[in-house]
């Protein structure tokens, strides 16, 4: 199993039956492939609908007016509904999404998140990210633990923030870390990964959960 699949499979365990979830681009998008059997999760698309369905099998089945927020042709499952942009973000901002899964450049001990501006590069924009972290009931970060060895989980974010004290959970190829009122708590390590390896790859204080577990996916 590659590391992206590991992360996606672990995040997919976070949902309850009936949850509405918004997935960001990158690793978060993969989460939809691994929802456990028996759990119905409905995906929200910023551009204005719920119940995102699978991509059409061929060009003939494409509806030119049915894309997701990443401009991919998709379908809508029975039970979904279309709405305008104000309602779509009313759903997000109003706390109607049970969770959002996003990537990150940096997350810090306070749960601050940075993922819209890469240092030294001009930003290409914000999209719906700032609204998602401000509004979703749970913000789950799905990302590589480091960026080519440089820790992404830090004491204090150094690059422009997307949201303040907004992250609830971080899932990486090494660990599952919860953001608590007191800081970061290491809840799980990936199979074959030692606590020391997680600590070495992390530039923030990590409390070790008394009931530390090994990730099962």
């Amino acid at each position: 199993m590659d590391y992206k699949e590991l992360i996606a499979r672990r995040v997919a365990q976070e949902f309850k039956d009936g949850d509405f979830v918004n997935l960001g681009i990158g690793i978060p998008t993969l989460v939809g492939n691994y929802i456990p059997a028996g759990v119905r999760v409905f995906f929200h698309s910023e551009n204005g609908f719920t119940h995102i369905g699978p991509m059409p099998k061929n060009e003939d089945e494409r509806d030119p007016e049915l894309i997701n927020a990443s401009d991919q042709h998709v379908t809508i499952l029975p039970g979904g509904a279309f709405f305008d942009s104000a309602v779509s973000f009313g759903i997000i901002r109003g706390g109607h999404l049970d969770a959002t899964v996003l990537g990150a450049l940096e997350v810090d001990e306070e749960g601050n998140l940075a993922n819209w501006k890469i240092p030294g590069k001009k930003t290409v924009g914000i999209g719906g990210g700032m609204d998602l972290v401000a509004g979703a009931k749970r913000v789950i970060i799905a990302m590589e633990h480091t960026s080519k060895g440089v820790p992404k989980i830090v004491k204090k974010c150094q690059i422009p923030l997307t949201g303040v004290r907004c992250v609830d959970l971080i899932v990486t190829e090494l660990a599952v870390i919860e953001i608590t009122g007191r800081g970061l708590m290491l809840k799980e390590v990936a199979p074959g990964v030692t606590v020391d390896r997680v600590l070495a790859a992390t530039d923030a204080r990590l409390e070790i959960a008394p009931d530390l577990k090994t990730m099962t996916v």
Binding site: H44, F82, A86, V87, G90, R93, H96
Partner: protein
């Protein structure tokens, strides 16, 4: 994801002291049978949020008449004399809100806004106790969001995923109240299987609806 429940189960979700939003305009768009069941149960000390207190024999008015509210947040009480009577007795508190402001406050509550700025009521008694904010040379009142414990809706048609369709002037406050309560209950004339409503035709997306009652 909506769950179909009985009228009795729906009424049991509303407990003494809760705040309830009741959709409807002169009773049109109000889940009349659910109101009747709530009257029968006699749940007390409710706070009601609605366009008006309607009529004594219709809509939310029946709850006023039965003295189930300690407070109502409405734009008008003029056709339900029980409202004024209880106010004068000191048993009912009334908060008057301009009707458009009421709609925006409910919408803001459901959509996560901390408030809205409206020109409505600037320089009137309605301004009392509110912050006046000047934006680009114009004055507005900061009006705060409204939320409730339970919202009571009336739809013409629902599917089992909770998607709702309203008819004619029965739409009114139903779509905005749907999003603004912890628990949203819709009474529908007709409940159909998921997939039987085209996703383009949905007026209230199922994501906002917790319970459906056939009625």
């Amino acid at each position: 994801m909506a769950k179909v429940i009985s009228m009795a189960e729906a009424v049991d979700l509303i407990q003494d002291g809760m705040s309830i939003m009741v959709a409807g305009f002169w009773g049109v768009g109000t889940p009349e049978k659910l109101i009747d069941a709530l009257v029968a149960k006699g749940t007390k000390n409710l706070t009601g949020i609605a366009i008006s207190t309607a009529l004594g024999e219709k809509g939310i008015g029946k709850l006023v008449k039965n003295r189930q509210f300690k407070k109502v947040i409405v734009s008008y009480i003029g056709r339900n004399p029980a409202t004024m009577q209880q106010y004068e007795e000191g048993t009912l508190e009334i908060e008057f809100v301009p009707q458009g402001t009421l709609a925006e406050r409910i919408r803001a509550g459901g959509f996560g806004l901390g408030g809205i700025l409206t020109p409505t009521g600037v320089g009137t008694e309605i301004e009392q106790g509110k912050q006046r904010i000047t934006v680009d040379g114009c004055d507005y009142l900061l009006e705060k969001p409204l939320r409730a414990d339970v919202a009571l809706l009336k739809a013409a048609k629902a599917d089992l995923s909770g998607n709702l369709i309203y008819r004619r002037a029965a739409r009114n406050t139903n779509p905005i109240m749907a999003a603004a309560a912890k628990v949203t209950i819709a009474v529908a004339d007709e409940i159909v299987a998921t997939g039987m409503i085209d996703p383009d035709d949905v007026m209230t997306p199922g994501i906002f609806v917790d319970y459906l009652v056939q009625g």
